[in-house]
């Protein structure tokens, strides 16, 4: 049983962590938490199943088109739901605008794709039992994504520009960085990360429109645990959440695992509002 808990826990945790990274990627350049993060992961599964099972494309084409589609949705998020409300960030209108867009995405998926969970193709066909690919693929995808992101942020000029904007928007603009374009790019990147989460977790979560709302919550918990904008915190938080949830799932049953996760969320928020790895708040007066 321990093996099952570990396998399914790490797999689910990796998906949650990737959704958390999606939140963070959008947040870093715009200071906006977007409800579309979970929907992007949902679309990763739906697009993948659509391209490969419905349209019969090979894996590489399916993956490429899925990521492209998700990146496009990310860019649309920036244009429709984020850019118009950035001027009045303190009014938190982004909560509403991104929620509206997320609902539209979910509703279109429900009507055009169907409200029943649909199968996701086996990608490689490797492994069985606890070593089944549906368990290790998300973990592998998560590791690869993090390594690529680290490379991007540490070694490339574009990545450093992202960091500069995340650190201090005004100073970055004063330096002449194309803040608006970089923001659009970061939303495309967030789309790709979300797409990877959904695609790699497709065999585990299936292509199901309601995954969006679920992943919105379970993907946000690691962000809340780890602190806003902190990718390392999101990964640790995501994996811990996955293991905790699956352990509760196996030991005390399904309903109580969701109750346990919710309780954990509330307790952590009350005890450490800035997250376990987050920074202190800014001056108020």
């Amino acid at each position: 049983m321990l093996a099952s808990i570990l396998a399914s826990g790490l797999a689910a945790g990796a998906i949650y962590a990737l959704v958390g990274v999606t939140y963070n990627t959008m947040f870093s350049t715009s200071r906006v938490m977007s409800f579309t993060a979970g929907q992007l992961a949902m679309l990763g599964g739906v697009f993948g199943s659509m391209f490969m099972l419905k349209l019969g494309m090979p894996i590489w084409a399916g993956l490429l088109l899925t990521l492209l589609g998700c990146a496009l949705i990310g860019v649309i998020t920036e244009f429709v739901a984020v850019r118009p409300v950035l001027k009045s960030l303190d009014q938190h209108l982004y909560v509403l605008s991104t929620l509206a867009l997320a609902l539209m995405i979910q509703q279109v998926a429900a009507i055009k794709w169907g409200t029943e969970p649909q199968p996701f193709p086996r990608l490689i066909g490797l492994g069985s039992g606890v070593w089944d690919e549906k368990f290790w693929l998300p973990v592998l995808a998560c590791a690869l994504t993090i390594l690529s992101l680290e490379y991007l942020y540490r070694r490339t000029l574009v990545g450093r520009a992202f960091l500069a904007i995340a650190e201090d928007n005004f100073a970055a603009r004063a330096l002449g960085l194309p803040e608006r374009n970089l923001r659009v790019a970061s939303y495309a990147l967030a789309g790709v990360v979300g797409g990877i989460a959904g695609f790699s977790g497709g065999e585990l979560l299936l292509a199901f429109f309601a995954n969006g709302a679920l992943l919105n919550f379970y993907g946000f918990v690691p962000v809340a645990l780890g602190g806003l904008g902190n990718n390392r915190g999101a990964i640790i938080g995501g994996l811990a959440l996955g293991l905790f949830q699956q352990a509760a799932n196996f030991l005390v049953g399904g309903i109580f695992s969701s109750v346990a996760v919710f309780t954990l969320f509330i307790v952590v928020l009350l005890a450490a509002p800035q997250g376990l790895f987050g920074a202190a708040t800014a001056r108020r007066v």
Partner: protein, 599 residues
């Protein structure tokens, strides 16, 4: 004060006449609802009942979303909770069966408790976190309803409660729900128009100022979470009976979105707007049947349009009064002489003492061992170059920063470091460098905020509009009007504060601070942005305030004003006292002249 309290009978009919335009639309909607049975069929009874039940929930939720500004998007969870609690209690499959009119209040209590649990994150974190916690709660409640088969019947469901005659017919039940809706409208309007409703808006739009007036955010929020949770659960019980049979499928997230969007379409801080929003959103899918499947998409588009194009919602469209232009060349003419009618003479006699107070931000020592005495009845000026620690000193006194070292005392009382919400109770009021007023509230309401802690009535008394609450309201309104007269803004009392000029906002802040009848008034650059005439009038006003016995601590850059009205002046430089003494001594102090005043 005497002039105002002398004619209560006339002011009462006057109040009724003033309130009539506000009440008329509600009476109109109620009248329409009452005649609906005579002009339509049972199908519309169902729609009407549904709208009424939704409104029972929304009227409570509106206080959270529309007034307190917390984005609760998952309130269907509390509807579900109430529906199952009522059904299970009436069906008696766990405990002995309970009559439905007893089950409803029990469900209300359960809902109130869970309303607070879901709301807990809102006490410390705003917006997205709270939205997420309600969303998470909505997800798990449905899962529990599905999985806990022995109680909820799982996916098969459970029979909804049945109401006894005469409420067991379509129209009988309709009238019952309309009755509930009317009652909850009345209660939520009572809260909205009491000091609690104003305090909620203050916490939403000017949280820092709200703390300075002594408003306790947690207590305020918990009260409305209890109330909204109870209403949502009672709505759930009514909903279950309307459905006659409930399964987890009946409580889709779309419902949550309907509740939430109805409020936003209606407009923040309004009751009529969200009510119209609820009615429109309930009817919309019915009259456009082909769109029914797309209803959530439609709601989402509406939400996006509202957010991007008209953030004020229906309420802003209906707000004709605030479209009338204001006089362009109006002047603020304070009447300091009237101050004596409003404020009792401060009996305080206590001195505000700071001893060795220090505070650093990182490596910067903002204040470095500061001693300061502000005597009652005196105007104490605090001047110094930018970054010398003037505003930081005010913030330490009013508790926004906790000093790392040193003590503060008020007479014999120690002032605890931090805890800004306790300062108002100690008789300390303040204004801010950038005025912090509530743009969406009227000038009068902004000033009334200042007296929030003077109210005697409890939340329940306000909810039921008991006499003590009415007395509070009359007292606060009369005092606020009188103070607006003192600062010279009584003509603008009913205007939305965001339509005013900067200088007028400064005087509103002073009036708001005076509502407390403070022993000490801390003014942070009150003359910034004022014309020379206005500064002259401000000087007279401040002098009059200190003559009433209050100690005034004045942070200012206008040296003329300081030397004109202050009894004592302290000059700060790099967080330390550079000089202290009477204006005459400071004016000729060598170091001060070279460091700050210039030759």
């Amino acid at each position: 004060m005497t002039a105002i309290s002398a004619t209560p009978p006339r002011s009462e009919t006057g109040a009724l006449r003033a309130a009539l335009p506000h009440i008329a639309p509600f009476l109109g909607i109620l009248a329409l609802a009452m005649i609906l049975p005579f002009v339509s069929n049972d199908y519309w009874a169902l729609i009407g009942t549904r709208a009424a039940i939704y409104w029972v929930l929304v009227s409570g939720l509106n206080l959270i979303v529309g007034f307190a500004g917390h984005l609760a998007i998952g309130y269907v969870a509390l509807l579900t909770l109430g529906a199952y609690t009522t059904s299970v209690l009436v069906a008696g499959n766990v405990l002995p069966p309970v009559p439905v009119f007893a089950a409803l209040p029990i469900a209300g209590c359960v809902g109130a408790v869970f309303g607070v649990i879901v709301g807990l994150p809102a006490l410390r974190l705003r917006t997205f976190y709270f939205a997420m916690s309600t969303l998470g709660f909505a997800t798990i409640v449905t899962q529990i309803a599905l999985a806990w088969q022995s109680v909820t019947g799982g996916g098969i469901g459970i029979v909804g409660p049945e109401f006894p005659a005469p409420f067991n017919t379509a129209w009988g039940y309709y009238y019952l729900c309309i009755g509930f809706a009317a009652f909850t409208t009345w209660m939520s309007a009572n809260v909205a128009h009491s000091r609690f409703g104003r305090a909620l808006i203050a916490v939403r739009d000017a949280e820092v100022a709200a703390e300075a007036t002594g408003i306790s955010k947690p207590r305020m929020l918990i009260a409305i979470f209890l109330f909204a949770g109870a209403l949502a659960a009672i709505a759930g019980g009514l909903f279950a009976s309307l459905q006659t049979y409930i399964t987890p499928d009946a409580f889709t997230f779309d419902l949550s979105i309907l509740f939430f969007i109805a409020i936003l379409i209606g407009g923040r801080g309004s009751i009529l707007g969200p009510m119209l929003g609820t009615i429109i959103l309930t009817i919309l899918p019915e009259i456009a049947a082909p769109l029914a499947a797309w209803s959530t998409f439609l709601y989402a588009v509406l939400l996006l349009v509202i957010v991007l194009a008209m953030p004020g919602g229906i309420a802003a469209l209906l707000d004709f009064r605030n479209r009338r232009p204001l006089a362009a060349n109006r002047a603020i003419v304070p009447r300091p002489a009237a101050l004596g009618d409003v404020l009792r003479k401060s009996a305080g006699g206590r001195t505000l003492k700071l001893r060795g107070v220090s505070l650093s931000f990182g490596n910067v020592r903002a204040i470095d061992g500061l001693d300061l005495d502000v005597a009652p009845g005196q105007i104490h000026g605090l001047i110094g170059p930018n970054g010398s620690g003037k505003t930081t000193t005010l913030n330490v006194i009013s508790g926004y920063y906790a000093a790392k070292a040193g003590t503060m005392s008020l007479g014999d009382d120690e002032l605890p470091p931090g805890m800004p919400a306790l300062r108002a109770y100690k008789g300390i009021a303040r204004t801010f460098q950038t005025p912090r007023v509530i743009g969406e509230a009227s000038v009068l309401q902004n000033v009334m905020i200042g007296g929030t802690i003077e109210g005697q009535a409890t939340f329940v008394e306000a909810l039921l509009a008991l006499p003590r609450n009415a007395r509070d309201e009359r007292m606060l309104a009369a005092k606020a009007r009188a103070l607006l007269g003192v600062v010279g803004l009584e003509m603008l009392a009913d205007v939305r504060a965001d339509r005013l000029q900067h200088s007028e906002l400064r005087f509103i802040e002073i009036a708001r601070a005076l509502m407390l009848e403070p022993d000490f008034l801390l003014l942070d650059e009150p003359a910034a942005g004022l014309s020379s005439d206005e500064i002259e009038r401000l000087a007279q006003l401040i002098k009059a305030i200190s003559k009433r016995g209050a100690g005034v601590l004045l942070v200012e850059h206008h040296a003329d004003l300081i030397f004109d009205i202050c009894d004592q002046v302290t000059v700060l430089n790099l967080g330390r006292t550079l000089a202290a003494g009477t204006p005459e001594e400071i004016r000729v102090h060598k170091e001060v002249v070279s460091a700050y005043l210039g030759a």
